[in-house]
């Protein structure tokens, strides 16, 4: 049996589709919705941090999108130069550049799952499942990298020691209190991941009988060949 066929699994006959239309449409529809949410999340912020200090009563904010930073980046960079931290925009340059492509690939993989009627479907869907967690992990690594690699000759190097700002929740750096939380984009991505899980469950329920049938047929075909041989 051709390996590609083993990956994409059995095709659906028209009669079977007409007989159980919703059984097959439901997972496909959910996967399309999840792909749509992922694409939509690109336009929303994934992460926000607010920084409060006595002389910044309105606070400073950084808003991270998949491909860019917004907010008071300039001011924060200005302050960070006193403690020897590199400018924020130097972080995650590769990730930010690749983000549009990655999101596109993820959405395409989810669409591909509609046509993959084998256990491989779970593997194709897994990047979208892991995406929200992967974002936070990557962000944490960058925060840790920036916070622990301060320029030792900076003006405030004696009073601000290397630190790792928490990726979520509250932290303290110098006179600043930081509050970090996820943004609507990340929530959309998480919702997409949840929908993918549900979709996979329905996908399995719909295609497992077909896949088992297909495997049985394949096995017996192999056995027949063996007998003939």
């Amino acid at each position: 049996m051709h390996p590609i066929k083993n990956i994409i699994g059995p095709r659906l006959s028209n009669s079977e589709f007409r007989a159980h239309r919703w059984r097959y449409l439901l997972p496909s529809g959910l996967l399309l919705v999840a792909a749509g949410l992922l694409v939509a999340s690109f336009r929303q912020p994934y992460w926000r941090m607010r920084l409060y200090a006595p002389q910044y009563p309105k606070g400073l904010r950084v808003v991270a999108y998949l491909n860019r930073l917004e907010g008071d980046v300039r001011e924060i960079d200005g302050l960070n130069h006193y403690i020897g931290m590199r400018p924020l925009n130097e972080a995650a340059q590769l990730e930010r550049k690749a983000a549009p492509l990655l999101v596109g690939v993820l959405a395409c993989l989810l669409c591909a799952v509609i046509f993959i009627h084998s256990p491989w479907a779970a593997l194709f869907a897994s990047p979208a499942l892991l995406w929200p967690l992967g974002f936070l992990l990557d962000l944490h690594l960058w925060l840790a990298h920036f916070g622990t690699n301060l320029e030792p000759t900076a003006a405030l190097s004696t009073s601000i020691k290397p630190f790792v700002p928490p990726v979520l929740g509250e932290g303290v750096i110098g006179q600043f209190r930081t509050v970090a939380r996820v943004g609507d984009g990340w929530r959309l991505a998480l919702t997409a991941a949840g929908i993918v899980l549900v979709a996979l469950w329905f996908h399995r329920a719909a295609y497992k009988p077909l896949w088992d049938e297909y495997r049985r047929a394949a096995r017996s075909a192999t056995a027949g060949e063996a007998r003939r041989a």
Binding site: G78, Y82, A155
Partner: protein
């Protein structure tokens, strides 16, 4: 808490009224005032910005006088200050009198502020986006003014009435020729709101008899297109010239009446546009005879030597403060128009039609001694300062204002004593089409026993009164000492009508042009460029460094120094102080500044940021090294003399 408050009141000897006054004016930290008052700075040549009801001084806007903190006149701002010079004569002080906020339909619009200088007859334009002076103009015809600035209801014109009579352009003429050679003036400065500048080419001056014009005001609604002014020397007194004539103070007060000037500005504008004017120092002047022939100017008698002339909110009445007469005289615009139509007039010695007094007067209201200036509220009351009585008179308006109050029309309701010698008065939006009432400020000339007096020059006293309650309740709430004098008029605007910037809109902003300067230094472009002996420094400033930090020039170089503050954070201001060369800039976030100097003195000059900007503020400095001319010459490569150069 109550017992603690009572204990404090007892210990500080405060009456219940004192406690109420304190509660009405106290601002907890972080609370912002409801009104903003713009008070003339008098001799300081500046304008004070004061929060009401707290009476806290928020800013002194540098206008006619250099002011180092704002970096005005110490490297930049000179081009604006020079607008007020005459020929090569620099004038670096002023006696600012009457601020005027720009108006739309007779209401403050919070966009611009104008202020006049009595001492040299000048006007200035302040942009209220950044509270900075943008333009100063020297009046080419008049040398002293008092009737400025007042604006027409849509700020088409800024009115500047002259004061002491002089020949045209204050040229020399014997005082014996006073009657013929001397004139009075009123100037109508055309304001171009789009450009935020007065356009002298579209402005004009009207000559008046040398009657010593005093205050002016612009009509609105019923009196729209009309301008009113007072006079106080229809006697044509020329002072004690021969040892027999009375001194001015008596000489100008001989006749029972002076003249209220009634000017048809709408018609005057048409006459100007029709080209019926003479040019003097390239400025349009409508001669007196033209004004008479064209029907631009009328007089009506007013009790002698009055002071303020103030138009009521609906534009229907004109209130003249008697000064030497205990009344305010209220004229009716409807009656004035009727008298003009009926030609009920007699010519004065110059041929100006003098309307019949009784035909124009609505009523006289006796208020007390020394009535000067009048403002209005939302309850149909008028408020007049009584200089000699040292009091504020609250009195009722009649006519359409009658329904707003319970008292009979045109009656004195209450007098509140103020400390002391009140000149101008200011009520919340009290000279607009819809006064707010609520707060009132008495601008007192003397303070005598109100404050610790630092030597014999006493502080001014700006007293806040509560005018929110009708009838006879009008208490003093607060005394604000002002150690800079002497404020004359003030205007109070609702704070939310002002929309000032907190940082300049973009990096590289030129406040003079109110636009981005595309050539302003930007990060990455910094450096020092040389072209012959012309050196250009391209610099940026941010917390806590200038870039570059070294500038080396040769003695005799002509230096152009450009700095942009690249900050975007509110209040992140940098100064730039360069010793000996008399430079100090205030670089507000986004602002770019350019100054020029000749490196006349060799030496080592550490420049620094003169505004405490950050924890590393002291470190924000750099060195200007001016190499002595001789050493520079030794260093320079030997070049053959240019062809044709002298031996």
């Amino acid at each position: 808490m109550t017992s603690v408050a009572e204990q404090v009141a007892r210990e500080r000897n405060l009456t219940p009224d004192d406690v109420v006054a304190a509660l009405k004016t106290y601002m907890p930290s972080g609370r912002i005032d409801e009104y903003i008052m713009f008070a003339s700075g008098g001799h300081s040549g500046q304008v004070f910005v004061i929060g009401v009801p707290s009476m806290r001084l928020l800013k002194t806007i540098a206008v006619f006088t250099p002011e180092p903190w704002q970096g005005y006149g110490f490297g930049v701002g000179d081009e604006i200050l020079r607008g007020g010079d005459f020929e090569s004569r620099a004038i670096r002080w002023a006696d600012t009198h009457h601020p005027a906020l720009s108006e739309t339909n007779g209401e403050y619009d919070g966009q611009y502020l104008f202020i006049g200088d009595k001492s040299s007859s000048r006007v200035a334009v302040i942009d209220l986006r950044d509270f900075e002076t943008k333009q100063i103009l020297k009046n080419p015809v008049a040398i002293s003014d008092h009737g400025g600035c007042f604006v027409t209801p849509n700020t088409g014109y800024v009115v500047e009435g002259g004061q002491y009579g002089t020949p045209r352009g204050w040229e020399y003429a014997s005082i014996e020729d006073y009657q013929k050679a001397y004139k009075g003036y009123v100037t109508f400065w055309k304001f171009d709101r789009e450009r935020g500048r007065i356009d002298p080419a579209r402005s004009f001056c009207m000559e008046l008899p040398p009657y010593w014009q005093d205050l002016f005001d612009a009509g609105k609604f019923e009196s729209d297109g009309w301008i009113f002014g007072n006079s106080f020397n229809t006697e044509l007194a020329t002072g004690n010239v021969d040892g027999k004539s009375p001194p001015f103070e008596a000489g100008v007060s001989q006749r029972d009446n002076d003249y209220l000037h009634i000017i048809n500005l709408k018609k005057a504008e048409q006459v100007f546009q029709a080209g019926k004017f003479e040019k003097f120092r390239d400025f349009a002047v409508i001669p007196l005879q033209t004004s008479i022939e064209e029907g631009l100017l009328y007089f009506t008698p007013e009790p002698k030597s009055p002071h303020g002339v103030d138009v009521a909110p609906k534009g229907d009445f004109i209130v003249v403060g008697g000064k030497l007469d205990p009344h305010v005289s209220v004229y009716s615009m409807a009656k004035i128009k009727k008298a003009i139509e009926a030609k009920k007039w007699q010519p004065d010695p110059y041929g100006v039609p003098v309307l019949d007094y009784d035909a124009t007067l609505e009523v006289q209201v006796e208020l007390g001694l020394g009535p000067l200036h009048t403002v209005f509220d939302d309850k149909g009351y008028a408020y007049t300062s009584l200089f000699l009585d040292s009091a504020i008179a609250r009195w009722t308006l009649g006519g359409p204002y009658q329904t707003l109050h319970k008292e009979p029309a045109w009656t004195l309701v209450k007098k509140t004593n103020v400390q002391y010698n009140v000149g101008h008065v200011c009520a919340a939006e009290g000279d607009t089409a819809s006064p707010d009432g609520k707060y009132f400020v008495s601008l007192n000339k003397w303070s005598i026993d109100r404050f610790f007096h630092p030597g014999p020059l006493f502080p001014q006293n700006l007293q806040l009164l509560d005018i929110s309650q009708p009838g006879d309740k009008m208490p003093v709430l607060y005394d604000m000492p002002l150690g800079v004098g002497e404020p004359h008029y003030a205007q109070m605007v609702k704070a939310d009508k002002l929309k000032p910037w907190s940082v300049y809109p973009e990096i590289g902003w030129d406040p003079h042009a109110q636009a981005v300067d595309p050539t302003a230094p930007k990060p990455g472009q910094e450096g020092v460029q040389r072209d012959g002996n012309q050196v250009t420094v391209v610099m940026t400033a941010t917390r806590s460094h200038f870039t570059p930090e070294h500038v080396k020039v040769k003695q005799g170089d002509k230096v152009t120094w450009r700095i942009t503050n690249v900050e975007r954070t509110e209040d992140a201001i940098h100064g730039f102080a360069l010793p000996l060369y008399n430079i100090n800039l205030s670089l507000e976030p986004g602002e770019t500044a350019t100054f020029h100097f000749e490196a006349t003195h060799a030496g080592t000059f550490p420049w620094y940021c003169s505004e405490f900007c950050s924890a590393l503020h002291l470190e924000m400095m750099g060195y200007l090294l001016v190499e002595p001319a001789r050493a520079a010459a030794l260093d320079a490569p030997h070049e053959p003399p240019a062809p044709g150069a002298g031996s």
